[in-house]
Symmetry: C2
Subunit: 407 residues, 2 copies
């Protein structure tokens, strides 16, 4: 791993091995453009390519990552190699440096134009916790859970970038003791800590993506908070699934970590029983379990450390399932893992689980207590992964603050 | 109602009172452009506006209806008035005529760029039939059904225009006697005859569209076939709703009928019991029930005449519900009514209902029998509505043919 000529703190999430892509603007030039995070800076990659006369400029121009996403694995490799060279070859430093901007003061935009958004439900600990809470006395997992990655389509138009405030949604709810449904602001507003994946290379209608071809289509990973109004969701979701309980907002991290940066994080997924159908089988020696370690903070307090490594279904299996019926992929399709929870209480990725449906409220170090989110609360999710030579790959954060419901 | 200088058959679905919008190309000039159907012709409206020096040209240029959709009700009225004048003022005939193209040989494209796609479930007869079939011995409607228009997000990227072939999807299914799920082509491929609505004017995040403001946001209506693999759907849909059973294809008619053409079709919706919550109440003297009469044909044989007038929830209520949690609307958002079925057997809008889950196969006049779709089957849905002065407003058809599953 070559060193950068730039001064980067050893504990920076954005060392030379990370190089995540985003879309940024500056105070003087707010127009959105593609950037790569490096240390405390953002590199304007299109401007750098132009300055250096690189032929890659065309992939990097424009207000979203979509042209780069569509270009495919060979182009992704070329751009990553070029950016690495720009930031490590000291003879280029004087020509690259003018295109570095202060990251702390940069404005970050939604990095991609979202096509379709699918949310999976692939963490066994989470699904079992939810089953125990909502269907006590019954088997915690539904009969299909171990046979396929359960998922549903979410609302692409309300995917927002980290930092966007979230207005508390209103809607119908009906508690077990209510005669009829009530209307009003959600009283059980929750988070779901998830990992998202973005599709670059599209497919033709009627074709499938095999588990083995995952990295030919998916560009990279990011963090996602699937805000959830549990009271709206519980009343509406039978028989067609979540709708208004989820569709008000879904926040994503501004930095997309390319799969190439996650080579060291790849781990074998857990054993599955029963063995999945052939189209869902892992490829031997080509695992897509990912050792990502999430951290969830509520008003600055660390409240959970969900481990991604033990997700039952990998993102490669999720994509194979999503397309097995011939549904085409488009550049900018995103899909999320489902809430990430571990076996321990402090590894749970939702307040529903952390406070066990309000029965065991979460105590915050500032003396506060939470079963669900209060107005003004801020939730931030970050993650790290092992990188080459002991380095750390960081995901940056996805954060959002709750504003009171509107009248 | 002024008469056209053009010769239009009295029984044409596209008389001077319909004027639906679509996107078409011709053999010599295949590039997609906005057209209005009139009799046996398509009028190239951007070219006509240009020829006549109309300032409306800007709204009509481009490969989709989206710029016109986004322009809002005043612009929609202006364009409809202008097109009406072009086609009725005999002094303009010589300048308009060169921009008429033969409709039968025109290639029709997806008329809008779809943002999000939501599918509702708002027909009481359909929902009750499905409940009786799948949950015998239990109340046919779920407890929430009469309190809110149940809906879910579908896959926007697989919405296709009428005429697109549909490849039979493969996936997992598990019948009541199967030990474990099987993988293969769907054996229970079905249709759902629905009416769709397209949003023109977007909203800001956190705002709602009241029932009274429906026509300020929705541009028009079209027909939709929500192809459904019942075997995939039955196995996958608990607890998060339909996914692969629906996401392989959704077909829409190429012609969008503006709400302005449906003034005569507006009828009072059925009585609701219990009374809906205030945000869902109809506005007095401003009903959005619509007397649309659908016809479903299988291989040319009329198999059902679903009546839209008795839908429990109107499109105005559906939009109010969809946005009550603050979810923003985008230009090109579409939503569908849910399967339209009437109380009579020959009014049911799905094969599941028409053949009662295979117990009463549909007998076709050609001697064939169907419980679900066979490879090679073609399904076509059309609709008419009452127009001014005894005229008929036609929707044109949404049609599609089933191709065998791919290996």
């Amino acid at each position: 791993m070559p060193a950068s000529w730039l001064d980067i703190a050893p504990d920076s999430p954005f060392g030379i091995a990370t190089l995540p892509y985003g879309v940024f603007g500056t105070e003087s030039t707010p127009a959105p453009r593609v950037g790569v995070a490096i240390g405390d800076h953002v590199l304007d990659v299109a401007a750098t390519a132009r300055a250096l006369g690189s032929s890659l400029e065309g992939l990097l121009t424009g207000p979203t990552l979509n042209p780069l996403l569509a270009a495919g694995p060979a182009a992704w490799r070329d751009v990553r190699d070029a950016v690495t060279t720009w930031l490590t070859d000291a003879t280029l430093a004087d020509r690259v440096r003018p295109h570095l901007h202060d990251r702390a003061s940069a404005r970050l935009y939604l990095p991609f134009e979202v096509a379709d958004y699918v949310d999976f439900y692939s963490c066994e600990h989470h699904a079992a916790n939810v089953g125990r809470i909502f269907r006590p006395g019954q088997p915690p997992l539904t009969p299909n859970w171990r046979h396929l990655p359960i998922g549903y389509h979410g609302r692409a138009g309300t995917v927002v970038v980290s930092g966007t405030d979230v207005v508390r949604p209103s809607g119908q709810r009906k508690g077990p003791h209510d005669q009829s449904p009530l209307f009003g602001p959600s009283t059980r507003l929750d988070i779901e800590a998830e990992v998202g994946f973005v599709v670059g290379v599209p497919t033709e209608p009627g074709t499938r993506v095999r588990v083995a071809d995952f990295a030919d289509h998916v560009f990279g990973a990011f963090l996602l908070n699937d805000w959830s109004a549990r009271d709206l969701q519980a009343w509406e979701y039978v028989p067609l699934g979540p709708f208004l309980g989820k569709s008000f907002a879904t926040s994503v991290s501004p930095w997309v970590v390319p799969l190439a940066a996650l080579a060291e994080a790849r781990v074998a997924p857990p054993a599955r029983d029963p063995e999945p159908l052939p189209y869902l089988r892992d490829v031997e020696d080509d695992p897509w379990g990912l050792d990502l370690r999430l951290e969830v903070r509520l008003n600055g307090h660390l409240v959970a450390r969900p481990p991604f490594a033990q997700m039952y279904w990998t993102p490669a299996q999720q994509l194979a399932h999503l397309t097995v019926n011939g549904a085409r992929l488009r550049t900018g399709d995103i899909y999320a893992s489902g809430t990430v929870s571990g076996p321990e209480r402090d590894q749970r990725g939702s307040l529903l689980e952390l406070a066990w449906n309000g029965e065991e409220p979460l105590r915050l170090p500032d003396g506060g207590e939470r079963s669900f989110l209060a107005d003004g609360d801020r939730v931030s999710i970050t993650a790290t992964a092992p990188g080459p030579q002991g380095s750390v790959i960081g995901f940056g954060e996805v954060t959002g603050r709750i504003l009171p419901a509107r009248g």
